[in-house]
Symmetry: C2
Subunit: 364 residues, 2 copies
């Protein structure tokens, strides 16, 4: 069976690496000759909306998936007229637009921050009369890793903030005074089976994920599962989904969802019985899903912009590295490492060392 992937970065790379053992082949559309996944399958080099390449992908692939949200929903709709596309284009188009996404959460009675849609400075000034400071102005579309976002602390910043958005359709959200940022990753198979991973606690800095720690037996696991099931059901979803949530005194507020494998689930490669990558492939090929149980104490640390020597990373006990074969560039995710061990003291110590090592080469 041949899996088409839109995007050939690290997520496609880890999907392909986990798919070989399932007997799957890959065909990858990506504009870059050097994309890290392209050695793992047939590479169609070109733009994501190139009609000739999309037609070729649709013809050759039995199932198509994507590794990031910023591929055009129209392209996936075109593909879905010719072959299976999972997750379905409607999930993608909601996730691509922060306004649609927030409205969707509300329809499902999933709490979110207060928000308003913004198309002008007047909209923003009006909205901020009933939304509390601090707040965040975000472009509705094409945002990731904190890009296209401005923090608003007081009303005298509004004009400058709106200026910075360069007129793009936006939303403003009040800042959620969270104790923790967590995410839940779930998978739904075409024939209906759903599995949930334990939630992870995520540490961001400058909008970029730095550390995810798996939280076994977390008190909010059930609440998170309840919310993600509503989304999976409403969208008739197939594949892995990641739902990012804020924990405010034990009550969860949805931030956003990603219709794909997710950075906060990279710990599952070593830390769970079945990785998110394998379960995504099992889900979209309608195979029985694998157990999502977490193994021992496990966490993931991202390497941003720069990389320590591999031997320094692997010199930290119980550490595994995943290099993405990407050239260093400021603020770019180049690799991650995971820790997994049954010894909590060793876990804490290794995690601390790994964080310090990652910070030493982090240029963001």
């Amino acid at each position: 069976m041949k899996i088409g992937i839109l995007g050939g970065g690290q997520l496609a790379r880890m999907l392909a690496l986990s798919g070989y053992s399932l007997g799957l082949e890959f065909i990858i559309l990506d504009p870059s000759k050097e994309a890290g996944a392209t050695g793992l399958g047939k590479h169609l080099q070109g733009q994501y909306d190139d009609p000739t390449l999309l037609a070729k992908l649709a013809e050759e692939a039995d199932v198509i998936t994507y590794e990031f949200e910023n591929v055009s929903a129209e392209a996936t709709r075109f593909l879905s007229q010719h072959t299976q596309v999972y997750p379905a284009p409607n999930a993608l188009s909601i996730a691509q637009d922060r306004l649609q996404e927030k409205n969707f959460f509300h329809q499902l009675n999933i709490p979110t921050a207060n928000f308003a849609t913004i198309a002008s400075l007047e909209d923003l000034q009006q909205a901020m009369t009933h939304i509390a400071y601090p707040a965040i102005l975000k472009s509705r579309r094409m945002g990731y890793d904190g890009k296209g976002q401005v923090v608003l602390k007081s009303s005298d910043q509004l004009a400058e903030a709106w200026d910075a958005m360069q007129g793009v359709a936006s939303i403003v959200e009040s800042f959620v005074p969270f104790q923790r940022e967590i995410s839940i990753i779930a998978a739904k198979r075409a024939s209906g089976e759903i599995v949930f991973y334990p939630v992870s606690e995520n540490i961001h800095s400058q909008g970029i994920l730095r550390v995810s720690e798996c939280c076994k037996n977390d008190g909010l696991q059930r609440q998170a599962e309840d919310y993600v099931v509503r989304i999976l059901t409403a969208l008739d979803y197939v594949g892995i989904i990641a739902l990012e949530l804020f924990d405010v005194n034990g009550k969860l507020f949805a931030n956003e969802f990603a219709p794909r494998v997710h950075n906060s689930g990279h710990w599952t490669i070593e830390g769970a019985e079945t990785s998110q990558f394998e379960n995504h492939l099992r889900a979209i090929t309608d195979l029985p899903l694998g157990s999502t149980e977490a193994r021992e104490h496990t966490a993931m640390v991202n390497f941003i912009g720069g990389l320590p020597l591999t031997e320094r990373i692997l010199g930290i006990p119980h550490t595994h590295i995943h290099l993405y074969d990407k050239a260093p560039r400021k603020g770019r995710k180049l690799a991650h490492a995971t820790i997994r061990t049954g010894d909590f003291a060793q876990y804490s110590q290794s995690l601390q060392r790994l964080k310090i090592l990652a910070e030493s080469t982090d240029d963001s």
Copy 2:
């Protein structure tokens, strides 16, 4: 860093799959266009003793390893004049010759079955006056999966048995009345560090491995480690080694060693903190070795000659599949599956189901 591999079958495939995350690239010499690993790196298609291809491999690869013993030791000696070859050619040439191998075990005071070297029917008749029946006549070279072996039950079989060997240099060994066949897998890094996996108990049938069960805290672990360290030290070895042993009332007898990743270690992909494949690559690139701790209850089952539907295999709880992308052929290893779970009752039940499923399509 670029790793050259002689052989592009399932062992090379699993090596390459585990090496991408370490940032390694692969160049693979294999005569077959369809070899399962060739999609995972650059493929040099041709014979293992083709001087042009060997020169190309030596030029392009930073380190060279091999996935099976039947590659010519001369080829590896040629390669080692130009680049690093691990494990070193002397380990390979000993492992290729059952007589040298047995003599080597004796030099290291590692017990074996009684044996004698056989070059004629007279040698065989003479040997069987002091070696007990049942015994096994084996070709000295090129044997695997039980090929080139004849069981001797009485003296009236000797002429026919020797006839079947077609005159090739052989040895005869008395049959070891073992309670268990076990193996130990160890890794040694160029700079000296050694790690051991827990021994596994192996079930063979018709000379082909069927099932390996990881034996955590086995009473013979220390004895097995002691023997394998003698080999690693004597050979100044680098990489993964597998030592097959017979357990006779708690005393171990060496059967053979393999200077490579080994079928009885496939459970380590899911069942150990670091797989044998990753540790082989860490060892030959002189990176810190990963923890070899076994996770929970874990076992591996081979699929020989035929394959059940993937969904039937994955429908057994806690099961992972590894397909080798090989065309079915009588007696050929096509895939393996592993089980890993902390629940012993579930483990036993899943293993039983998996064995029955594997037998249902086994044509050997």
